[in-house]
């Protein structure tokens, strides 16, 4: 599903249940946005994809009641950045932002730190019984390897 936002650029929207099978739909949504914006650097798209999937994983994995949480993903491509908003109906919680990477032998705990490393802005707030994430990556900032 797509629509027009007030500024005139296209929105890419996914609504449904936050369940493992829907993670593919998030990849597809971003692929659709990227296909419409060939000017996007594939590295930006790949890093943004990694970040938003990590946040999506958190909702799928920890959102309760399990299997009943609904979410809405919205992706927008702007001239200077790419933005995703994620609303979910899971329980309230406080993300541990700014915690840094766990030890190198840790088997978990990297999702949010990876997202934070790849995004320029990551905001979380709880309002109206909904968790709201906003994720922004500025474009064209990728260092040359």
């Amino acid at each position: 599903m797509t629509g027009e936002e007030p500024g005139g650029s296209k929105e890419y929207v996914l609504e449904g249940f936050a369940v493992p099978d829907q993670l593919d739909a998030v990849h597809t949504l971003l692929a659709e946005a990227a296909a419409d914006h060939p000017e996007l650097d594939p590295m930006d798209v790949m890093l943004f994809e990694t970040a938003i999937i990590e946040i999506a994983n958190n909702v799928v994995e920890y959102g309760r009641p399990e299997g009943e949480v609904r979410w809405k993903f919205t992706i927008r491509v702007h001239a200077d950045d790419i933005e995703a908003e994620l609303d979910d109906t899971g329980q309230t919680f406080t993300p541990e932002q700014g915690k840094g990477m766990p030890g190198e032998e840790a088997e978990g705990g990297r999702g949010l730190p990876i997202a934070e490393a790849l995004l320029d802005r990551i905001e979380f707030k709880r309002m109206d019984e909904t968790n709201h994430w906003r994720m922004v990556r500025r474009l064209g900032q990728t260092p040359q390897l």
Binding site: D24, I53, A106
Partner: protein
């Protein structure tokens, strides 16, 4: 997600395909644990057919590495980004 497996005697190659993510990682980690329990602790994870990996996939690789090393073996990754 499916993965191919080839036992070459000295080592076992596991080759996941597609997205090595929250959905796929537990199955691969479980298979690694089974192989290590059978005494097959020299493992190669061939990533040539993986087009996306998340922290769950990374966690499974680290967990598998630890399991293998605890039994005197090792886990190596091959063809990442190929």
């Amino acid at each position: 997600m499916s993965f191919e497996e080839a036992d070459n005697g000295a080592y076992v190659v596991l080759a996941p395909e597609g997205k090595f993510n929250l959905v796929a990682a537990p199955a691969l980690k479980s298979r690694i644990d089974d192989l290590v329990a059978e005494g097959k602790s020299k493992l190669i994870v061939d990533l040539h057919a993986v087009d996306f990996i998340d922290s769950s996939g990374l966690g499974a690789l680290i967990g598998g590495l630890k399991s293998a090393r605890q039994q005197g073996g090792d886990l190596r990754i091959a063809a990442a980004g190929a």
